[in-house]
């Protein structure tokens, strides 16, 4: 029946007002409007979200896993870039 597959969409859900949209999965849908509708049924059935974004998967540009050595690894050795050397006052919570 479906010689033509529906395109793939990435789904982003905002779980609460004030929080960011988070990637939660992907689905097939014929267009953006339908993708949002289907995302509502597939990913927010249990009241998971207040807002939905969908993005065509094809529109996402991704870093190349083969670049790992030069792209990711050098960051691991630079602990001085982490703000762990500051003394934090006790009153500061959630840091």
């Amino acid at each position: 029946m479906s010689e033509k597959e529906w395109p793939l969409w990435e789904v982003f859900i905002r779980s609460k007002q004030g929080l960011d949209h988070k990637h939660c999965g992907s689905l097939h849908a014929p267009d953006a409007k339908m993708a949002i509708q289907m995302a509502r049924d597939v990913y927010t059935r249990r009241n998971e979200g207040v807002s939905i974004w969908v993005v065509p998967s094809a529109a996402i540009a991704a870093s190349d896993p083969d670049d790992h050595e030069s792209f990711v690894e050098p960051m691991a050795a630079k602990i001085y870039r982490h703000p762990t050397f500051y003394q934090l006052p006790d009153e500061l919570e959630h840091m």
Binding site: M1, S2, W6, L27, H28, A29, P30, K33, M34, Q37, M38, D41, V42, R45
Partner: protein
């Protein structure tokens, strides 16, 4: 509240229950995974609505029957759903067009009930109306896509509409239980007509036929729905798991 309120609650509950059961038949057989889930969600919404209405009907009846007793232990002639919702699913176009016609009806009817004087009915209606609005969005969207889609989808959607249209008359036949049923047809048409036009689907000619499900006189199809739906409770009364 009177026995006609009980009867009305039965109609509302049975419409939702039988259509929910019909939609449930698609589970695992939907044309697409995503659509399968959407369909099942809507079926669950409807079963949830049925529970509220049937509980209310049971209390109004005052014979100690709860929602389960009403859903699983009544015979065919005691069901008060309109014939429209008991027809077999057919293809996906038929399933969608049937739901679109029913969803529009629900939106109009529940909207009216939500503003009504009887608090309990108004509360159930207000809750269900939000679901019906979404169901309509889904079924209207697909109706548009089928009607204004390929030659094949148009042919199927028009065929479904031709077969279903006659069954909508019953919804608007007034009787003592629902004396103002005919006044819903205008607002219902105001939803359905523009959609069908946009979907390039032609409204079929009116016929004399009026189905009679809401009076308990059903088509041959309801028996099969009930046989499947009630099997477990009839074979093992009171079974729990």
């Amino acid at each position: 509240m009177s026995s006609s309120t009980c009867e009305f609650a039965l109609r509302m509950g049975d419409n939702a229950l039988i259509l929910g059961q019909r939609l449930g038949e698609w589970l695992g057989h939907g044309p697409q995974l995503e659509e399968d889930i959407a369909s099942a969600n809507i079926a669950l919404d409807l079963v949830g609505q049925a529970r509220l209405w049937l509980s209310l009907a049971g209390r109004l009846e005052g014979r100690g029957r709860d929602e389960d007793a009403l859903a699983y232990a009544r015979a065919q002639h005691e069901f008060r759903n309109c014939t429209l919702v008991e027809l077999p699913n057919g293809d996906y176009a038929f399933t969608i067009v049937r739901r679109m016609l029913f969803d529009a009806y629900q939106r109009v009817l529940l909207g009216r009930l939500a503003g009504g004087a009887q608090a309990e009915i108004a509360a159930i209606a207000a809750k269900s109306k939000k679901e019906a609005d979404y169901h309509w969005r889904h079924s209207a969207d697909w109706t548009l896509r089928f009607g204004d889609g390929t030659d094949e989808s148009h042919r199927r959607a028009q065929g479904a509409l031709d077969r279903l249209w006659g069954y909508t008359r019953e919804l608007f036949v007034p009787d003592p239980v629902d004396p103002e049923a005919d006044s819903l047809r205008g607002p219902w048409l105001a939803l359905v007509e523009p959609l069908l036009k946009e979907a390039t689907l032609a409204i079929p000619a009116e016929t004399k036929f009026i189905s009679t499900g809401k009076r308990g006189l059903h088509s041959e199809h309801l028996g099969y729905v009930l046989a499947e739906m009630q099997f477990l409770q009839r074979a093992y009364p009171g079974a729990k798991w």
